[in-house]
Subunit: 436 residues, 2 copies
């Protein structure tokens, strides 16, 4: 008999149907046993009074995989108003080991490290599975918003020849302790030669603007983060977009606003998770103004977490917005490919998008002239050679362009209120963890 | 003035508009100059009679980025029936170096290595860009077909702890010279410990069946292929799907048939590229029967390229199908997680999908019981330890399941008739190439 899902049960009241899934919970009372079966859609309550089925059930561990054929019976007290009665039970895969923790409680009681050690089990809990569904919906919304605007999906190399090329990325300045040349980069044995995992598709997406004008990529990026924090991962999923023929960074911000709105709309539609309203025009502050509002000294080169929180409060209070753009970050705190602010090149045509007082996205306008790249590297005292493969592409005529990158796990953590990105990542990789 | 695309020009006949793009070609005749501008959508012909604009044009290299504002004038001889006249030319980025090869000829005359050395340039040629659009459409079709069938997108680790875990993958038998334990795996310095790039999301997608029942992933996989062939890459994009609660591999084949039909339909719809018809039921042959039809000895353990070609001809001749499934490959040629054929465990519940006489997809039913995994490894004389992180997940109750993986670049190469997968890959990585 064709299996139906738990959520389809009510439509079949009175009929004989087959459901299948995992033994979520058993309650063996004196005269009756209740079996809760979990499938991808939800839960089914099964009522067992038959001695032989009860005997099967008694020896069956939680998370065993079962198939049940029985009668759909109305019961207002059952989870979905119906339950399965008079079942025939077929065991598809019996579990005979004790579980490291229970899955049937509202929250996982195990510590995060224990959950991660047993990811194949903990991810089955609705809280963990739900976050991954939010991630899937967010990525789908990202792609949909961009495809509607004639962006073309690309797949770029994750293995690159130079550590410098890998480590120069949005928000990281070469030479800075946490992201300079060769820092935070995973080294690789590439057929006997050294190579490195890409920290970002930055250079490739820029080059592909020369081909398609507008491109995006959803893919893994790799950071050898030496910090063991709640928001750093050694691998995460980067949602990258880049577009040509822009006037300046404000065109990128307008696109990002539409994309974030598309992402939250898709999350709400597919998962029912509460999402923040995205204003048609997100309030934007220049960096100098942001420092003033945050009460920071005028010569601060970057925003500290406390400043970001203050700006989040300001945006909510003054504009009723949970989002706020900060633009014009000092050039010396931005990577060399950043386009300076034409009216005052101390500042840049770049931005961060803060969400609830935390940085969510970094982006901006990039340099598009080959000579400007050479000059920018010279100013910073950086050699051109490690970037040769990248820079040569700019000799062929690149339009004014810019883009942004959203960290998927961080986006989902912020949206769901998870305290640690590891809670919303299937099999996280960090300083201490490379399994399972 | 808001820029319009080349394809929108005809709608604006008589009006003044702005177009922008790359200098595709210039023809400087005595009384008039023709400028062909290329944008992401196509070509625009611009007629220049004004001396000052002509002077600008004379110094302008091909691939320079320009913006033109002029009058849309009907001309049946022009590419789209219209051309731009009396233009004002603004140079957004001038190219002042000779190009390594011309882009305006119907085919790229440069050798493939030269094209790859100058990927940022060669990818702009319609033939190369077109193939990447096919890839984008194929991936979109893959995702759409699966999301319609309640598959959930996942993102899995590309860095794994054991070389064995990385190298065991569909179609590769541990211990075989081209894919055994530790073979063809890139080693990595992971915070001072050894780690490896994943050759496939195989294990993770299986574990995630325990969470969502049906999952898919589009992402890079890494093979340290020591062979310099037209179909091997060190990184390629794998389209992976896995689903639970199947009867056997035939459920996986039915899904794959629908997915391939969805992919070709999306390619046709978005790119206009001619695609093969995908039969509602693709002809399927058991391996033993396939050997007979191909004229191979009955004890051959695998299909040679000549056999695959013969089977392709057979399917076309007997069934009018460009696709044919071969099922039941000998267990000894399949990875240890393959489910044996219950009626005769010399064979397996696995399949290959051949397209035009070439293997396109590998898939099958997997083992789902923990004890069966232990037994399978023991039979092959393989230790359990390197697979511990993977196998432990099978203790928690996994339903009968199976799946498949499609190599995106190979799929696109077959579809477009490209002789080498590098022609349909933006920045290929292989034995000799790690730049640009």
């Amino acid at each position: 008999m064709q299996r139906i899902l738990s959520t389809e049960l009510a439509r079949h009241t009175g009929a004989t149907v087959t459901v299948a899934g995992w033994v979520h919970r058993r309650r063996l009372l004196k005269a009756v046993a209740f079996l809760i079966v979990r499938d991808a859609a939800g839960l089914t309550q099964v009522v067992v009074t038959e001695p032989e089925v009860r005997a099967q059930l008694e020896g069956l561990g939680e998370e065993s995989v079962v198939e049940l054929t029985g009668t759909v019976t109305a019961n207002p007290a059952a989870p979905a108003g119906v339950e399965l009665t008079a079942p025939v039970l077929r065991i598809l895969n019996a579990v005979d080991v004790p579980l490291a923790f229970d899955l049937h409680r509202p929250a996982l009681s195990a510590s995060l490290p224990t959950q991660l050690d047993h990811a194949a089990l903990s991810l089955r809990h609705p809280s963990r599975a739900g976050a991954l569904r939010v991630a899937a919906a967010a990525a789908a919304g990202f792609r949909y918003a961009l495809e509607q605007r004639r962006f073309v999906e690309i797949h770029t190399p994750k293995i690159v020849a130079s550590a410098s090329e890998s480590s120069v990325r949005s928000g990281v300045v070469a030479g800075r302790s946490d992201g300079g040349s060769g820092a935070n980069v995973f080294a690789l044995d590439y057929f006997g030669r050294p190579a490195f995992l890409a920290q970002s598709p930055q250079f490739y997406k820029q080059l592909m603007v020369g081909v398609f004008e507008r491109v995006y990529e959803v893919g893994p990026v790799f950071r050898a983060e030496p910090h063991d924090t709640a928001r750093h991962l050694a691998q995460y999923t980067s949602l990258d977009a880049e577009l040509g023929f822009i006037a300046d960074h404000r065109d990128v911000m307008a696109l990002l606003t539409e994309v974030v709105a598309g992402m939250t709309a898709t999350v709400a539609e597919r998962t029912g998770v509460a999402v923040p309203a995205v204003p048609a025009e997100i309030p934007a502050l220049h960096f100098a103004e942001a420092l003033r509002i945050a009460g920071a000294p005028a010569d601060e080169p970057d925003l500290a977490p406390a400043h970001e929180r203050a700006l989040g409060e300001w945006a909510l209070r003054e504009h009723g917005s949970e989002f706020v753009f900060v633009t014009g970050y000092p050039m010396r705190k931005r990577p060399f490919y950043t386009h300076p602010q034409p009216s005052d090149p101390v500042w840049s045509n770049s931005f961060d998008l803060l969400f609830r007082g935390l940085e969510l996205v970094t982006g901006g306008q990039r340099l598009h002239r080959y000579a400007d790249y050479e000059a920018a590297l010279a100013t910073r005292g950086e050699p051109v050679a490690p970037y040769r493969g990248y820079l040569d592409g700019f000799r062929y005529g690149m339009p004014p362009h810019g883009g942004f990158a959203i960290g998927l796990e961080r986006f989902v953590a912020r949206l769901t209120g998870a305290a640690n990105v590891r809670e919303v990542t299937a099999f996280p990789r960090d300083l201490h963890r490379v399994t399972p």
